[in-house]
């Protein structure tokens, strides 16, 4: 089937088998391998991307369902060579170890902060409860999301404020 999808701002026209899952379309047709496959049961969230701004598990969406829609993946977060505040915060707060869950976790957080710019710890934990991380124990992921939320909120209040979260080190 022919589909036309906008991914990270770029339009793609592709011929896909009707049963192709969105995650395999992104990974194998477009070679965007940031979204990972971890479970088969829509449990782990490693494949999370934004579909028209909503976080979805791309292992449970057919590529044909994305026809005419807009998708944002982790590869599309960087702007003009500048990391997204969530990417910076994950680095700064040591919110990743093996890195396999990271793209999905960041995309889920992206939508969460859109809905709730300054979430409490409990709200973050609930918000990312569809994403499994086997390495970090989540403490630093929660910290990173809250920290990025503060940066994004400050940027929204002052569009000229491009203050960065630069890891402060020791």
């Amino acid at each position: 089937m022919q589909i036309r999808v906008t991914v990270n701002g770029r339009v793609y026209e592709s011929d896909v088998e009707p049963r192709t899952l969105l995650v395999y379309y992104l990974r194998e047709h477009l070679r965007l391998t940031g979204a990972h496959v971890g479970c088969d049961t829509t449990t782990c969230g490693a494949c999370t991307v934004l579909l028209n701004g909503k976080a979805v598990k791309s292992c449970t969406v057919l590529a044909v369902q994305a026809n005419g829609q807009e998708i944002l993946t982790v590869e599309g977060l960087e702007r003009d060579g500048e990391l997204h505040p969530l990417q910076k915060a994950f680095w700064e707060e040591h919110a990743l170890q093996c890195g396999y869950c990271t793209p999905g976790m960041i995309m889920t957080a992206c939508e969460l902060l859109e809905r709730n710019p300054l979430p409490t710890e409990e709200e973050v934990r609930k918000g990312i409860s569809g994403n499994v991380c086997r390495c970090t124990g989540y403490v630093n992921i929660v910290k990173a999301i809250q920290s990025a939320g503060r940066v994004l909120a400050a940027q929204k209040m002052d569009p000229h404020n491009q203050s960065e979260v630069v890891p402060s080190g020791n």
Partner: protein, 783 residues
């Protein structure tokens, strides 16, 4: 963007990770991200039965699926003498079933096709006719004389695999005979699975022209895998190139060689095309290396004052259908005899019997140094049983029995020489920091009001860093590790090691070690692992061995570089070598700190301006065989509240005070502790792989095998003490597994403590809410 990597003397600092920039951009390169030209895909046909004879396999319909290139069965592999392969534990295992299957989900055939979907479609059309055989699930049933013998390929016609013991049976018996107090507790450590987020997988790429096999595999031990492959397949070892790309978590799951790997390699050898095999989550849980499954009994003999005298342990180890445990070869029960823990027992005797059942094979070290988790859980659980019997506070009982600081190096009754430790200091810090006395008061008040609150303690000792080659080997290969450092003319460094990280942050921490030793910044040092064509030989990353072994090699290799550099520095400074001193950042003339040369200047001279007669270049390799293991320890305290209506346990607080010796990067150590505690929590409360009486695996996916989310996981508090290892080059001990080893007992002890008023002495893990609810219901607390 370089951040905080421009500082000299990086040791002990929270340098942000060098590996993160690729992962946060989605640019990690895991095995399934790799696509090769003309690559084929493989899918595996698995047995629905736990024990059955294979009457026939019909592949006709499967071959009709467009794109199918090859279907391999056990008979095909038998012709190549590859139907069976050796396991690391000295057993053999089937690659594809020949004659019969021995567990559900066992590999029966492999289908190779042009697309992933075609391979899966065709696998479903492979027709296998089975004749069911009697199933043995319970290991206690397996060792009864009339139990069906599962492994008819073996000479020994019984399901008993091996008997192993440590310590002194007679002297232990003598103490038990006259002991004033004896407690006994049966403890099960359930079957769990490491379940890293990235399942196992590989691409085998055999090039007929060069005769070289390139094998991309998500491996914790690429060099060992290459050697095993060479031995099994007959391919020359120098023509096997193993590349372990970014690994999406391992936790012991990615140490063994699995049947799917062998099938992918055979298919690529036959077809001359790359063959990719990526397992599903179900395949991962149901067929690759499980962990634990120990049925243990511990007895402690003590005096009336709570001084422990002797420990006796008897264990039945369920290994499934093949003994595919990933232990050092001379240690069939791993390092389980560390079970005397942090306590000064006069005598101990430990025995373990391994048995076969109709379950998937394994026995891997899941975030654990070879059965140390089972040992730590058993002794910490049983110490609480003794405290209860003596009506003592479990904290007081521990303080009375710790091995004292001045007893190190300490000779344990089962033969270990503990390197260093200060158990009392670590435990007292934990008691003070969590406010132990206040918590006990609060608990007393709550009990009076009928509320359920528990406090659980675990003061464990680990043994990691295998290891000294006089004792530790895998299939004869000694368990040393290695580092190779190349300093280039502009003072930039590439370092390669024989281990393979899976999230532990070696690209950062090993850069810190090397930068510290060479007077450079971590930005100057690139660490590479996982490529057997470029990295020196090593046994891999598991059992918290990377820092004790390869970390030692990295430091000593850098010091070897510095020895040569010093000679070049003397030449540049125009003084004798004896007049040159290393000040931590540069070489200087003794007594004249202003006359100095940096490592960067020395590096350039090593290629441009050498002393007469000196060999050019600035490179070194170091193979480090540690003199002993290292013995990290910790004091963990859990505080739980139990909901009387539902039996749900809430972990209100958890404090982990770890002592892993000198710390390379505090941020990374804390991250390791957080992750390990979460896995320990999961094992205590969620993770379990049960089987029904027909051998059906009841938790072969993440809907039934429960892994914790952010909502389940408690908030962790951490702290540490530092008792350096006296024999390690930088005084470090390793930390990745301590929290997983030490924490399960703290959780269970806390729940049992909360339920003690109802006479509860023990609950087997995982502590699901229904188990607690049943206790409460039977006690009349809830309806």
């Amino acid at each position: 963007m370089a951040i905080n990597q421009c500082e000299l003397r990086p040791m002990g600092k929270s340098i942000h990770r060098k590996e993160d920039p690729r992962f946060i951009r989605g640019q990690g390169r895991y095995v399934d991200d790799i696509v090769l030209p003309n690559m084929l895909h493989m899918s595996i046909v698995r047995s629905p039965y736990a024990h059955a004879r294979i009457k026939s396999i019909n592949t006709d319909a499967a071959y009709q699926v467009p794109g199918v290139k090859l279907i391999i069965t056990g008979e095909d592999l038998a012709k190549l003498k590859l139907a069976w392969i050796p396991t690391m534990a000295g057993d053999v295992q089937m690659v594809l079933a020949v004659g019969k299957v021995l567990y559900q989900y066992q590999e029966v055939a492999a289908v190779v096709a042009e697309t992933r979907a075609a391979a899966v479609d065709a696998a479903q059309l492979v027709e296998v006719e089975y004749e069911a055989l009697p199933v043995v699930v319970d290991p206690f049933r397996a060792i009864q004389p009339d139990a069906p013998v599962l492994r008819d390929d073996r000479e020994k016609k019984s399901n008993h695999i091996w008997h192993w013991e440590a310590g002194d049976r007679e002297k232990t018996e003598e103490i038990f005979k006259d002991a004033p107090v004896v407690v006994s507790q049966d403890v099960r450590f359930q079957r769990v699975h490491p379940s890293p987020l990235e399942p196992c997988g590989c691409i085998a790429d055999y090039n007929k022209g060069t005769g070289k096999l390139t094998w991309y595999v998500t491996s914790q031990a690429p060099h060992a895998h290459r050697t095993v492959l060479a031995m099994v397949s007959g391919l020359p070892e120098h023509k096997i190139h193993v590349i372990s790309p970014d690994v999406g978590g391992g936790f012991g799951n990615k140490v063994p060689v699995y049947p799917g790997y062998v099938c992918a390699i055979v298919a690529s050898l036959q077809l001359g095309q790359p063959v990719k095999w990526i397992e599903t989550r179900t395949e991962n849980i149901a067929s690759t290396g499980f962990a634990r499954d120990y049925h243990m009994k511990a007895e402690i003999a003590a005096d009336e004052n709570g001084k422990v005298l002797a420990l006796r342990v008897k264990t039945l180890a369920d290994h499934g259908a093949f003994d595919a445990a990933a232990d050092p070869t001379k240690f069939p029960a791993g390092l389980f005899s560390i079970v005397t823990g942090s306590y000064d027992f006069q005598q101990a005797f430990v025995e373990v019997d391994g048995v076969y059942t109709n379950k998937a094979p394994g026995g891997v070290a899941y975030r654990c140094s070879f059965r140390v988790t089972e040992a730590a859980y058993l002794i910490e659980r049983t110490m609480d049983v003794l405290a209860r019997k003596l009506n003592m506070d479990p904290a007081d009982l521990r303080l009375r029995n710790f091995i004292k600081k001045e007893q190190f190096p300490y000779q344990s009754p089962t033969g270990w020489t503990y390197d260093s430790g200060d158990y009392e200091q670590t435990f007292k810090l934990a008691l003070e920091k969590i406010g132990y006395q206040e918590l006990r008061k609060e608990q007393a008040e709550k009990r009076a009001r009928g509320e359920l609150m528990g406090i659980g303690i675990s003061t464990f000792t680990e043994v990691v860093g295998a290891g000294p080659s006089h004792s530790f080997d895998i299939m004869g290969i000694k368990m040393f590790d290695s580092a190779e450092i190349r300093v280039h003319p502009t003072g930039k460094v590439i370092a390669r090691l024989g281990v393979r990280h899976q999230g532990q942050g070696h690209e950062t921490t090993f850069a810190q070690i090397i930068a510290e030793e060479l007077g450079l910044t971590t930005d100057d040092v690139l660490v590479e692992e996982g490529d057997t064509d470029t990295a020196p030989y090593g046994l891999g990353t598991y059992a918290s061995r990377s820092t004790p072994t390869a970390g030692g090699a990295a430091a000593l290799c850098a010091r070897r570089i510095r020895e040569k550099a010093k000679k070049i520095a003397a030449h540049l400074l125009e003084v004798g070598e004896e007049d040159v001193a290393w000040n931590g950042e540069a070489f200087q003339v003794k007594g004249l700190p202003s006359r100095k040369v940096t490592m960067g200047e020395v590096a350039l001279a090593a290629y441009t301006n050498l002393p007469e007669g000196m060999e050019p270049g600035l490179e070194a390799t170091y193979y480090y065989d540690p003199p002993n293991l290292t013995f990290p320890h910790g004091a963990y305290i859990a505080v739980v509240d139990i909901d009387k209506g539902t039996g749900a346990v809430k972990v209100r607080r958890f404090l982990a005070v770890d002592d892993c010796g000198n710390v390379i990067n505090p941020m990374i150590v804390e991250g390791q502790v957080h992750g390990g505690l979460t896995e320990g929590f999961a094992i205590a409360f969620m993770q379990d792989i049960p089987f029904d009486e027909d051998g059906n695996c009841l938790a072969p996916n993440w809907m039934d095998y429960l892994v914790p989310t952010a909502l389940d996981s408690p908030h962790w508090e951490t702290d540490r003490t530092v008792t350096p290892s006296p024999h390690h080059p930088i005084g470090a001990k390793g930390v990745g597994e301590s929290p997983n080893v030490g924490s399960p007992a703290a959780f269970v002890n806390a729940v049992v403590d909360a339920l003690a008023p109802f006479g509860v002495e023990h609950i087997d893990m995982p502590i699901f809410p229904w188990k607690v609810w049943e206790i409460l219901r039977k006690s009349g607390v809830t309806e």
